[in-house]
Symmetry: D2
């Protein structure tokens, strides 16, 4: 159950009430918001005097639910706005890993040329083997900061585990929580206290219910700038790296109030299918697209097979606008 | 390995050669085609004198492979052509089950009004419970024939098991092999000898490799009019009925020479997501779309939750043409 | 809902009542049994006068449910009895495919020597490629009949599709319905009218609910001799061929009244794991075990990698008895 | 490739060589061990003079591979030894969550009475909803320490994320890395530097390859005391919570040198199946068993449905010894 309380209440009063009712709470603007487990269906008597509105909920998808907020939440950073009244579909592109300042500059020039405002690149890579490239770490973050400065791009980059979440919060414009870290309470709770937008990727073995509930950790921490990213789930099919779950996207659009971003590159795992899938994603009317592009994919230090080269990416971008227009969206 | 032999050879000569080499064979037009297991990598000496061309293959995706035929095969029936040089995307629509002549006529009028030439409806339903509606059987096929006659539509309907494949072959314009029957050798072999197009649905628990290999049973029987239909695979996600595998569609488009048809209705299982998914499918540049539409979905005898009503379907159709145009396709 | 009616009612009376109430019906011994969809929760008034007992049910797992019959049903053929009061665990062993009379005789001698009474071997193989060995068909069935005659073994063999179900019914002692044919209505309905036990394998992409509902097709046809066989489901893990679902077996034992047989060979796909898994299966306290054994696995015409050789099989058998004893079962 | 180097080399020499060859390195006892990516198949010339032995490897399952060490590694803590020459199967039991000192004492008395030496209980719970019980945190760890002191039990408890890994290392005898944290580099790297055994649970959406590669992070950090825990994977089947992957266990036993522990409680999710599954696990001949037991499961603050009560647990334990004996193992 979500409860809006009287905004005159002081924080220590709220803290006491929350403790008493085992509520998670935060302020949304001025409004104190309490969240009780969904199993509680009627407003506790002791809270009635303080309550301005309340919403009994069906499951622990609460703050993210359309039953609570009927419109998609607006999320803003730098010059980018998605959700809300915007009808914008943001394109976020760049290499899998930050490998060098030169590599990032070449990418930044491509993006700038195409009117794309957001660059992505990983500095802390959640690799599955300890014996391969693990990312450049802080050094990679500094390279990204340099490119942001020079090209006026905003930066989306991934936090791998709770040991460096503060560094990511310092350098990134949007904090990406990767698929393998979706459940990481250390990251989720820290991001709940951050004032930057969070792009939460779905765990590839996670249900939609679990995915949105992880977003609830951030939302209920008081950070309401959360975007959901579907990037492919693991199925029995192995001809492709993962299976992009567009049925799940239809579910998220219908039932949640969070912007939805799609990552066809990780889902497919092979460059040849990315353009077709990206077009499908845009036709779904989603709020954003995350695409991996690399100056020379074959020499990439990670995810070599799935990154588009610059020519393939330019060609893709040229086909996306008419599809976006057909579904009433604008690429930004 | 696929081998084209000299077309002058008589059938009994071919039969003997095939027996000797454990080849599956048929005539494609005049050309005798032998198929040996993919494990055989070099042309058998005894066949060299008779061979006009041959293709060593990587796996038992052979006749369906782009390595054998670099273009998508053309498939034609009634007034419909897909694949080949056509750039057509066929829309096939109608109720899950044939329930009455009236129901089919109302549907047929909707389709005719929208310029759609193909009606779908099941007469033999592969239900999972013996205690629910099992379809009208032959009676349902007769209703479909009546509608075909009256409205000039062509009919796509499903064979459930090998006991009634001849009846389906008599009444249908396109034989649909359902997801649960994909492996049915009785059906596949019979369809390999038929002269009507076959729409083969992917088993929801089947890999792409197995799916295309089932198409090989039909192709190697001599029926080269085969379409592949992706309709959702079973994954751990249960908020939606199945998971539409568009990564798999990208694979099929890249590696096979068969037209690809998509069925968003069965994948989603809920009407609310079908329109978004249908738009995504068309944006993928596929050869066809199978959509369930029912005059009054709530009273449908099967799949009540996933069928669009007429208004929803009209609205969907009005949005598909600009997307098709954006990817160079024409809806038929 | 399951309804037992007055046994004095004539078949034509029952037929009329069944039509009127859309019931599936059969006689269990003398007792007429009606089954209505589980959605019907109260006994129809018009049936009350004829009803001797009735069971409202939660789902369309009805005749197979423990709510209907609290004990495991007894299934008998030849000298074998499982379920009921027996505490027997039957071992059914043999090669994947019947390849020759000699091969079957060698196997039969092994089995006889070990006190095993049931031989398995496939004559109609549901292969996924048309270009590999498809089984010996009727010829294979005749070989099996010869071995039965000579060694006094009973024969378990698989029906692939509805085109040859009568042949299987003629030659087999137990009809095995394979994983790929689990949904085959042609086979299920025919087996429902047969008077031989049926071993129904779970589709590798099928839920437990669907699996048991397919058994309901046979049971509600009047054949109450049905065994459920778990043989591995398809998951994302590909190091092994399938994933043996022993959690599912625990579910079946708790909720259904049908004997449960396990097939570790197909689940594992590799000989090295079969013995460990077979021991685990016996420790689960199941009603039977299906193991593939071949005189020379490396030369087998199908499933070469998963068949045990004779020495491995003998060694396995020597370890099973103490485990069976520890859980109060007897191997037969 | 794994390389053993001359033990006379100083750490700074080794550090330089490792940097030069992009090797991960540690000392196993005195022996310096380098690990290069498996893609490297021949010993680098510059290392030959320093090399005492080397093993080219097929995949990045390297230190954990049977190709490197043909015997299962011994792991020891408190009075417990598994692996190596021991043939021991350790039983680790206790409630899902530490809830109170009283609850833990009651459990400890049960375990002591049954001769069980290891208690499990979670203090930091990786819940999927922010609105339910999250564990007692440090307070829970202190309760566990108190119970260890009083009853002489050793404690297995879970680290949830990298923010409290040092606390867990201080209080636990065995550090459990939970399923949702399997990929957590912060935890894995810290545990690689720890001198306590680590029980690594398989991510429920993770392949066996990824699972063992996560163990490689710990092993290559220099901590060779790693145990693998299979606890059920996520599949399409939802009648049970997860699917215990015993085929995967057979794979791990064949291909890796790490002890294997099984957790039937989390796999099943329902108390009714846990005993049958536990017996199956012991019959597989594994190195350990993790079972959830709670004084009053219905009032448990987490995982209420899957915990055995004391009577059920006693009954289970009484049946495990004969099975263990039948497969040559001793329960400890």
């Amino acid at each position: 159950m979500i409860i809006h309380l009287n905004s005159q209440l002081h924080n220590d009063q709220l803290e006491n009430l929350a403790l008493e009712h085992k509520a998670v709470w935060f302020r949304s603007g001025e409004t104190p918001v309490f969240v009780l487990p969904a199993a509680i269906k009627s407003l506790p008597d002791a809270l009635q005097a303080h309550t301005t509105a309340h919403w009994p909920m069906e499951s622990d998808i609460q703050l993210a639910s359309r039953s609570y907020r009927s419109q998609v939440r607006e999320v803003r950073w730098g010059n980018t706005t998605i959700g809300g009244q915007s009808n914008n579909t943001v394109v976020i592109a760049g290499p899998c890993s930050a490998e060098s300042t030169d590599q990032l500059k070449v990418t930044a020039e491509l993006l700038t040329d195409l009117g794309i405002k957001n660059i992505r690149a990983g500095a802390f890579k959640p690799r599955t083997s300890p014996y391969t490239f693990q990312g450049l770490g802080i050094e990679g973050l500094k390279m990204l900061a340099e490119v942001r400065e020079k090209y006026g791009l905003t930066v989306v980059t991934e936090v791998r585990d709770a040991t460096h979440v503060d560094a990511i919060l310092e350098y990134a414009d949007v904090i990406q929580i990767g698929s393998k870290s979706m459940y990481d309470h250390g990251i989720l709770r820290r991001c709940g206290k951050a004032n930057k937008p969070v792009l939460l990727k779905r765990g590839f073995g996670s249900t939609l219910q679990e995915f949105v509930q992880c977003a609830e950790f951030i939302l209920s921490g008081g950070n309401e700038q959360v975007m959901l990213c579907e990037r492919g789930i693991r199925t029995f099919e192995t001809k492709t790296r993962f299976t992009l779950d567009l049925c799940g996207v239809a579910y998220l659009k219908e039932h949640t109030n969070l912007p939805v971003i799609l990552d066809p590159s990780h889902a497919m795992g092979y460059a040849y299918g990315v353009a077709d899938l990206a077009r499908a994603c845009v036709a779904m009317g989603v709020d954003g697209l995350l695409v991996e592009v690399h100056p020379t994919p074959k020499t990439a230090l990670s995810d070599a097979s799935q990154q588009l080269n610059h020519q393939e990416f330019r060609q893709l971008m040229s086909t996306l606008n008419p599809i976006a227009a057909a579904v009433g969206r604008t690429l930004v």
